[in-house]
Amino acid sequence: MTAVSPGVDAASLRDVRSSRRGDRVFSGVTVVAGALVFALLGAIAVFLVVKAMPALQHDKSSFWTTKIWDPDATGRYGVAALVFGTVLSSVLALAMAVPVALGVAVYTVEYAPRRVGRFLGYLTDMLAAVPSVVYGLWGLFFLLPHLVGTQTFLNRWLGWIPLFSGAHGDVNTFSKSVFAASVILAIMVLPIVAAISREVIGQVDPAQKEAALALGATRWEMLRTAVFPPSRPGIVSAVMLGLGRALGETIAVALVIGNTFDISAHVLTPGGNTIAANIANRFGEAGALGRSALIASGLVLFVITLLVNLIARYVIYRSGVEERSAAV
């Protein structure tokens, strides 16, 4: 007891109850909060599986391959066209959004004067705050008519790429299509990818950038040498989060996509569908089996997004491991 430092008497060492109670309450709260997330995810998964069971058991063989959706009248339905349309529209959306988002991020961090950069940052964040139904209505009444020119152009000059050709030769009419949905999705995904990339790029150690500049790098060479490599895992996860949003986006897509059931890579021709849009369009009038079938398709979407997120986590984790092993 003689070793106790001055000012702290022996009694105070034992008197820890009050602070410990606060500690216990706090750790209890965090444990509950953590468990809640786990329980919610579990509950959603269980709900989906249970409700999807009737539909999955009704039609075991062709659920993955059927391109028709007619559960209540003929009992035939399958997610083939829906999964295809979901993945195609999302990938196309990323292909359009990611280059622009990276451009926005690099410009705000590296090129823009600080004031302009910050303002642009606010604007991008506001783009993320627009409700998706607003995007959908805007897409329906403004974007679709104004997209005709772009679609005609793509079809005429890039029609030799199957993606932009008509299903039966030339495209004559343009309306709700996978392409329109992709454009809307691209706009919706853009702010997420841009905002996260902006944070990631902004966190690159200035010493690394100076190292590149001191070697005689130009602005672009500096970005390539010192900024992009360490930002890569963060940008990948930003893209994956964007993909997650695109895959699950419902109402905006439902308003501008063709609501047909075919597997066609001709994105300009009217048609197309996604899992989420199909649920939104059909849930109201679905019968018992129809609902179960829609929930089964929701389960598929749940698994797809879960996989996308797992892959994103893995990419981030692996780069983290590399850095840690480098530091040893």
Binding site: A214, G216, P230
Partner: protein, 258 residues
């Protein structure tokens, strides 16, 4: 390979704030010049103005001239990136590129210059690492991350990276301030060897270090808080440390202030 640097009435600014006031100094080739002085006296800013790294900071600018063998490196037709390729720099904190291997770190500058042939890169990397006294320690793990080396090794890696592009001048901004005494000694030995081929300018907080490694010492200070830094005097290191011309230098050397 080594060139002479001369500044003519060089002042450095951050926005409206003047950080360095009216410095004229000549730095001879194949010698080591040390900048010493109290914190905030502008010696690092002045150093960074010598290879146009100063202007990387938003709002930073200079007045006056910096001549590299009589060519003004701030002339409008001169490309800042080309200047930095000619006048290399080593920083206070070792800053190897974290995602790159040891090899790629050294090769980074060469690749920026368009060198692609593997055989040429190989020999240049080995030559630079040998010059930086690092080759024997890393030859068996060239493809391991540069960030895995010790602090002193990382700093020698940064020196190897800087000399790989064969600059005329090597600027070092307190290169040992983050290192332990053994690593510091290794860097100082290296500076002594590099002197044969390069013009070396080193900023240091450590007066013993300036006395050990430099041929010429320049003493910077400021007239008061908030005032810009200025050059008090520059002379042979021996004279500065035994018989300086200025009272202020003597006060600083003998530890009476700063």
């Amino acid at each position: 390979m080594a060139k002479r640097i001369e500044t003519v009435e060089l002042s450095c600014f951050y926005g409206k704030t003047k950080a360095v006031d009216d410095v004229s100094i000549a730095i001879e080739p194949k010698s080591v010049t040390a900048f010493i002085g109290p914190s905030g006296c502008g010696k690092s800013t002045f150093l960074r103005a010598l290879n146009r790294m100063h202007e990387v900071v938003p709002g930073a600018r200079i007045e006056g001239q910096v001549l590299l063998d009589d060519e003004d490196i701030y002339a409008p037709e001169i490309d800042a990136a080309a200047v930095r390729r000619t006048i290399g720099m080593v920083f206070q904190r070792p800053n190897p590129f974290p995602t790159m291997s040891i090899y790629d770190n050294v090769a980074a500058g060469l690749r920026l210059n368009g060198l692609r042939r593997k055989s040429e890169l190989d020999s240049a990397v080995e030559r630079s690492l040998r010059s930086a006294n690092l080759w024997d320690e890393v030859r068996s793990r060239l493809n391991k991350p540069g960030a895995g080396l010790s602090g002193g090794q990382q700093q020698r890696l940064c020196i190897a990276r800087a000399i790989a592009v064969e600059p005329q001048v090597l600027l070092m901004d307190e290169p040992c301030s983050a290192l332990d005494p053994i690593s510091t000694l290794a860097i100082e030995d290296l500076i002594f060897e590099l002197k044969d081929r390069y013009t070396i300018v080193i900023v240091t907080h450590n007066m013993q270090q300036a006395a050990r490694v430099s041929d010429v010492t320049a003493f910077f200070t400021l007239r008061g808080p908030g005032e810009p830094g200025y050059l008090v005097e520059a002379d042979t290191t021996q004279k500065i440390f035994t018989n300086p011309s200025e009272k202020r230098t003597e006060d600083y050397i003998t530890g009476r202030f700063g």
